[in-house]
Symmetry: C2
Amino acid sequence: MAATNPRTPPKPVMRDSLIAAAFRLFLERGYEQTTVDDIVTLAGVGRRSFFRYFPSKEDVVFPDHEQCLDDMTRFLAASADTDDPVVRVCDAARLVMRMYAENPTFSVQRYRLTREVAGLRTYELSVVWRYEKTLGDYLRTRWADRKDGTLRANVAAAAVVAAHNHALRHWLRSGGEGDPLEEVDRALEFVRGTWSPDAAAPPAGPDASAEGADDVVVVITKRSTPMWRVVREVESSLGEG
Amino acid sequence: MAATNPRTPPKPVMRDSLIAAAFRLFLERGYEQTTVDDIVTLAGVGRRSFFRYFPSKEDVVFPDHEQCLDDMTRFLAASADTDDPVVRVCDAARLVMRMYAENPTFSVQRYRLTREVAGLRTYELSVVWRYEKTLGDYLRTRWADRKDGTLRANVAAAAVVAAHNHALRHWLRSGGEGDPLEEVDRALEFVRGTWSPDAAAPPAGPDASAEGADDVVVVITKRSTPMWRVVREVESSLGEG
DNA sequence: AGAATTCCGGCACCGAGTGCCGCACGGGGC
DNA sequence: GCCCCGTGCGGCACTCGGTGCCGGAATTCT
């Protein structure tokens, strides 16, 4: 071995070396076949230090999500009230995709792990849930005055997360080829266009948005139709303005 | 609890007594403060038997989800191709809500546990994910010919699950008062009306099943909506016929 | 330099989960 | 009656993730 580098710029040297050692072992012999003792032995540190930097063995697989979640929270907190909430939330989702895109090989390797190991998959689920909750909380406050605002917020957050994950997984399955940002844009556009028709993207002129409050309900019935149901549909949709 | 379910071929005596003992201890001294040894001691059985009936300590908190997931899978597999996929998926979500509604007190107690204990929350997340995946798989096969079918399926499944959870959590937070089925119907109606405009239909539609070909397309758009988008939705939904 | 704080390693310990073995059933078969 | 065999249960003994605690070394402050 060459002489150790005397330059140690920041402080997270041990943290990074633990991540490196962990992934080396995870990829070559599997996650569950690797014990924490194996990791700390390879990294040349004490076992106790591992749990100082990572609260659990699973956390070492997702070392950057905590930071990304902070970024998203700050991003949403810094949004103006004039912005379209849905657009803002889509941009927040793009933040996550950008994090994945920064290290394609690392992201792909991690994806292979999470696909095989059930424990890592559930851990990733909990991370995704925190993202979704962050988006949902933001939408909830923005739509606090709206009737069914919380329901709308929950569903919208779930749809955005689902679209993001769709694009992300497709990109990861391809091995990190192509531009994931482009893919997630397509998916989010689909969500925004299909789910939330207000403030459509392509035409920048949303008519009757200022103080109109005039709901437009279009009912198209083809052939014979049980009218009682159509009436109920219209009534229920008019009931929530 | 009286013996209710006749569909239990094996002898669930020990299993039920383990569940009862576990919840007694969980509710009186907390989940993490209760060890598996405490449970088996109270139940009067050996420690090894616990893990014969429940693969992990968390599984004892969700003893009925496995059965419910099977029910949902069978329900979707038994659906005719003429059914509206979205309606079918909403009915599948109702199945889950019905399971919760069968034992309100038990559901509320479990809800309190999952709210406090982080480990149980992530476990519940993994269960919800399996439901969502089941719904998504079904929609994916139904929309295989559609452009962006998988994206549509993922987002729709996520929206349905989010709406279901919204109604469920609201009902659980109220302590199990009122009719949760009614609440989930409202929430699912919102999703179907807002997200998927094609073919609004009653859950048990007696019409349109005899000789078919009488498609009813109802498009409801809230607020002012760019008409080109409505037209596009109608056209695409008519193209499937 | 001396003191205080922080960082690290090495225990000892707890609890979840597993493999293995022995035992007590219970039911045929003869 | 006996023996045989499959099954369900209990009781180890063990691994491994995770935590509390303490002593020592490195670093920083004054």
